[in-house]
């Protein structure tokens, strides 16, 4: 119990700080993320530049916050698409069963059978890269994992006594699914969302790292990490700062989800 709270507190604190910085970054950063200053390139971290400066003399901290904002936006959108459509498909399949359920489950299985990265590559190469195409590609790929979880939950709840008694009071199928069953799946859904968020952050970062994701002048954590590797010797703080933000982003949400799960288990 105490330990669960520790997960919750630490994860909550990290996530809160990261979210605060990211949201702040949409309005204000210490320096303009794109302002170059040739006189001040490759400066080591100092009070003036918390994470130093890059090859153009741009403030890395400002750029990281800005890039994290892009990554965060993509991850949240991907999870939102995957979760919303996953809930829709999973609830219908789990609740009604039958042939549509079998067909949709097979489709989901075959999507997950491919390495998702490869599929994203295919979609990107057809549609072209760019922020919204990445969101679309990853969003589609994230549907099956949510759909599968929601489906098994709905199939389980469908026959429970209290769901039957709601039906016996005249509640229609739509009401049963979304008012009576869905709230029961929130704990499971919550951990799926945090895991999904982390996967989305990593997928976006890897795609941008391989420069099939975000294209300049946009910057994301992945594309910055990719830029930074050239200067690993001369300006290691570039890669370290960017990497640290990715790690903190993921660590914070993982701990938060673990803490929430433990809390809900302990009642």
């Amino acid at each position: 119990m105490k330990k669960g709270n520790l997960f919750l507190y630490i994860g909550g604190a990290i996530s809160a700080i990261m979210s605060f910085l990211i949201i702040l970054g949409y309005f204000w950063t210490p320096y303009s993320p794109t302002a170059m200053n040739v006189g001040a390139k490759f400066q080591a971290p100092s009070l003036e530049h918390l994470m130093g400066t890059d090859n153009f003399g741009r403030d890395i901290f400002s750029r990281v916050i800005d890039g994290a904002g892009t990554t965060f936006f993509i991850a949240v959108s991907v999870v939102a698409i995957g979760c919303a459509l996953g809930i829709l498909i999973g609830s219908l399949c789990g609740y009604y069963g039958g042939l549509p359920d079998i067909i949709l489950t097979r489709i989901c299985d075959s999507i997950t059978a491919f390495p998702s990265f490869l599929l994203a590559l295919v979609i990107i190469s057809i549609m072209g890269s760019g922020k919204y195409n990445i969101i679309f590609a990853l969003g589609i790929l994230f549907i099956p994992s949510f759909a599968r979880i929601v489906r098994s939950e709905f199939a389980r709840y469908r026959d429970l006594n209290y769901i039957k008694s709601a039906r016996l009071m005249g509640a229609g199928s739509f009401r049963i699914m979304f008012r009576h069953i869905l709230p029961n799946t929130f704990p499971v859904l919550l951990s799926a969302i945090t895991i999904g968020f982390n996967n989305a952050v990593l997928s976006e970062a890897s795609m941008s790292f391989l420069s099939i994701g975000i294209q300049p002048p946009d910057a994301s954590l992945g594309s910055m990490l990719s830029d930074s590797q050239i200067y690993l010797g001369s300006a290691p703080w570039y890669a370290l700062g960017t990497g640290a933000v990715i790690i903190l982003l993921i660590l914070g949400f993982s701990l938060l989800s673990e803490g929430l799960q433990r809390m809900s288990k302990n009642g």
Partner: protein
């Protein structure tokens, strides 16, 4: 008096059961307006399947149904799902055997009691709440205001069963199906729930189909009783007649299960 419920030659066959085994095999009975009819029989005799058939919600893809069920003029087997849902919770209230699992753990008691009103009426939030508190008071649920805000795990089995009864009677149904409403409860609570049902019947002229495997329970409440065995009704009549002079050997067996001291009390 007119029939509130009329079941005629009801047969139910589950697809996964052997060809010749009917869970309910030609059952006919009727419940008049404001009457309490007892339906007794041992475990597996088909009581719950009969009740679920009346509710019209047994999945048609898992069982075949024959015969007819008329509820307050509506022919259940002829109704669309929409028509059935409009009857459930409105004209027909249902209470189950298992109070502990009949309430949604993530919803508060109050809104669950109001469910039928939400589905069937356009009452405002406050009006629904008022009706819920009334129904809870009628179901003799102590401190309705407090219980309204609680979650199911905070209530005892007896309180939950009262909450289920409140939910079933909130839209003042003409017929209440009570499927072993007291089996999961201890003896004192059982007696209280039974007298509650009798009061609801007398004060609101609500007809009740009381299902039980316990003739003792039925005798306390019903004037008429039907005895069910292996999907068939083997004996039907006034409770006193059946207690004094049981015709069918199965009824005699059921009576023998009741301690003799009790039987002399009649």
């Amino acid at each position: 008096m007119a029939d509130m419920l009329n079941v005629k030659d009801l047969k139910v066959h589950f697809h996964n059961a052997p060809e010749e085994k009917f869970a309910v095999n030609g059952v006919s009975f009727s419940v008049k307006e404001g009457e309490i009819l007892g339906l007794v029989g041992e475990s597996g005799s088909g009581k719950t399947v009969t009740a679920m058939s009346i509710s019209g919600l047994l999945p048609k893809n898992r069982a075949d149904f024959f015969g007819s069920i008329t509820l307050d003029g509506s022919e259940i087997f002829q109704c669309s799902e929409k028509e059935i849902l409009s009857i459930l919770g409105d004209k027909l209230g249902i209470v189950f055997q298992e109070p502990m699992t009949s309430m949604n753990p993530v919803m508060r008691i109050g809104p669950q009691i109001e469910e039928a009103l939400r589905v069937h009426t356009n009452l405002s939030k406050d009006e629904r709440r008022q009706r819920a508190l009334e129904a809870m008071a009628q179901a003799e649920l102590g401190e309705p205001e407090k219980v309204y805000k609680k979650y199911p795990h905070e209530l005892s089995g007896g309180m939950l069963q009262r909450a289920m009864i409140a939910a079933a009677i909130i839209s003042r149904p003409k017929l209440l199906l009570a499927d072993e409403p007291t089996t999961a409860l201890d003896v004192t609570i059982q007696a209280e729930i039974l007298s509650l049902l009798r009061r609801l019947n007398m004060e609101h002229n609500m007809a009740i189909l009381l299902i039980s495997h316990d003739l003792h329970v039925v005798r306390r409440l019903c004037s008429r009783v039907a005895v069910m065995q292996q999907g068939k009704i083997v004996e039907e009549g006034l409770v006193e007649d059946i207690f004094k002079n049981p015709q069918h050997p199965y009824t005699k067996k059921l009576l023998d299960a009741i301690p003799t001291r009790d039987r002399k009390l009649i």
